[in-house]
Symmetry: C2
């Protein structure tokens, strides 16, 4: 199974990305990786690593797309960048199943659209991270930043894309879909929420359970949370910010509690570590860009080797679950019905 | 200083509300309260309390507006409700400076608009809670739920309303205003954010510092966070939900850590208590509905006596800071300029 890794995407590229690739081939026996990026730089990192040389290939790409560049411009102009070289191979080589990049979110999304392309019938592909929930399971948030201005029809499709993902990845027969709103009542929310509510209520392919208040995002009572990319991103980032804030306040309060606090903190060190692990949504790898022709994973910009391993594993799981084919079949069947 | 308290608004009404009123008159020597609601029920609670009888007056209002009712319908039809009776007195009696209600948010907001009325020139009054930030200060979020569908001009006014509030309440000469967006760069966000960005950039009355990512809401780097009511509500509720989630996970991890965890938890009990206090945005009272003719505070639905005391104190502080007059003067000066 061939998977591309953008070796020059992300804050810790290329070292952590290449190390992650090495760990991944050790862990996943049926995976072959293609690293895109500056060949010499990648070789310099690889020379100190022990791995099966046949299973990591390098494709030279001297350019890098940074976070500061206009995503669309960069994708169109930087054809020798690690991202674009990877995406073009992903698009054109049938033997390659997916790609991972921790690079600029905007560029990965623009590249997914412009280089890999949408599945026929999908209006807007969407970025869909999995969030850990209070019941120990995962909740999919779709869209969390790919589409800023959405028609209700896009949100309806997000619900379908998310449902296919959760159904095939986790065997949830009838994923519970909610709209992120300002209350649970049917009439809550803005005009976009109201219209989406009506569409989802009447969509036979979606197990729509209604509006949800953002405070219940992590309750575990829902499998798929639907929002436009702006609102989904705000909800995700506010959650992340709140976690970081409380961990920081916790630390300062422990430090301020004198010896008692320090002993208490030391005794709870493992508990705190587990909380961080439980709440770390990047531990699953990255966010799939659902609705494009191939598997494309946007890994967190701060990804280290461990996250890259998880993201590569995620490509493998999505491939084995046949998610992209299921979305294609779904889209074709809905189109057949003239919808 | 006369302040009205809706004795029948909120999950813990009337007992906690009335008890809060009694505590408030004990704490604040220059405050007189008018409680609206079922007279006999209020008297039954008051008879066990010791307080200066001259400083708490009851105005009988037999009806109650519930959370399930259509806010606008309820405000129009339930003229004998504790909320509407209070709002009408607030509107008509010049000696009354403000009102507190922990009742249905929708009804309080609809009532503020329909019964008390907007300040001339203010397009849309907005609900503006104060959030505790990491630097130990407060950050104002405006709007957090009053206006679901907003024009950029409304958001521009929210920035002005919020700035007046922070300037006069906390003596911050030039409050730093940010838009809640999906990144800090100028071009981030949806169409509404883009248009608001241009308006704020060119508004000489606002110290606009640009876009902000929702993860930095509580950083303390901003004084006023601007968003439409839908997005602001999602950001606030996601933050609340994340806090609750992490406190719940913390508890379960401590319980799962055996004796070590229990001792650690016991040693950190005070630290955890302080964290809850530091992060509890209801401890400041409630959210002012800025832009209406009088001071109107929406207190959290779950308010207990302590929160009601804080909300009454908040009315007093807002009154003494002259916030409503400052907003009126600001609005008049902008209108004079033909804007």
């Amino acid at each position: 199974m061939k998977i591309i890794v953008d070796a020059f995407g992300g804050d810790n590229a290329p070292v952590e990305i290449v190390k992650g690739a090495v760990e991944a081939v050790k862990k996943l026996s049926d995976v072959e990786l293609i690293l895109t990026g500056d060949e010499q730089a990648i070789k310099n990192i690889l020379k100190d690593e022990k791995y099966d040389g046949n299973r990591i290939q390098i494709v030279h790409a001297p350019d890098v797309i940074s976070n500061d560049e206009s995503p669309t411009m960069a994708i169109k102009q930087k054809k020798e960048s690690s991202l674009v070289v990877g995406l073009d191979m992903l698009k054109n080589d049938e033997s390659i199943v997916g790609m991972v990049s921790a690079g600029s979110t905007g560029a990965v999304l623009a590249g997914g659209l412009l280089r890999v392309g949408r599945i026929k019938g999908i209006l807007r592909p969407a970025l869909a991270p999995l969030l850990p929930n209070l019941k120990g399971g995962k909740t999919l948030l779709i869209d969390c930043g790919a589409n800023m201005d959405c028609k209700p029809q896009y949100l309806e499709q997000f619900a379908c894309l998310g449902s296919e993902y959760m159904r095939n990845m986790f065997g949830i027969e009838s994923p519970r879909v909610a709209i992120i709103s300002v209350g649970v009542e049917d009439k809550k929310g803005n005009a976009q929420v109201h219209e989406t509510f009506e569409l989802l209520k009447n969509n036979p392919n979606v197990n729509f359970v209604g509006n949800m208040e953002a405070r219940d995002m992590l309750s575990g009572d829902f499998d798929v949370l639907v929002a436009d990319g702006y609102v989904g991103n705000v909800a995700l980032k506010a959650t992340e910010g709140a976690f970081e804030t409380i961990m920081s306040v916790l630390k300062s309060e422990i430090m301020a509690s004198g010896l008692k606090g320090k002993i208490g903190g030391a005794l709870l060190k493992n508990a705190f570590k587990r909380i961080k692990e439980r709440m770390d949504y990047t531990s699953v790898g990255g966010s799939p860009f659902l609705g494009v022709q191939k598997i494309l994973i946007k890994s967190h910009g701060s990804s280290k080797a461990k996250t890259i391993v998880a993201a590569i594993e995620q490509v493998k799981t999505i491939h084995e679950a046949g998610v992209v084919d299921k979305i294609k079949a779904y889209s074709a069947s809905v189109l057949d019905q003239g919808e």
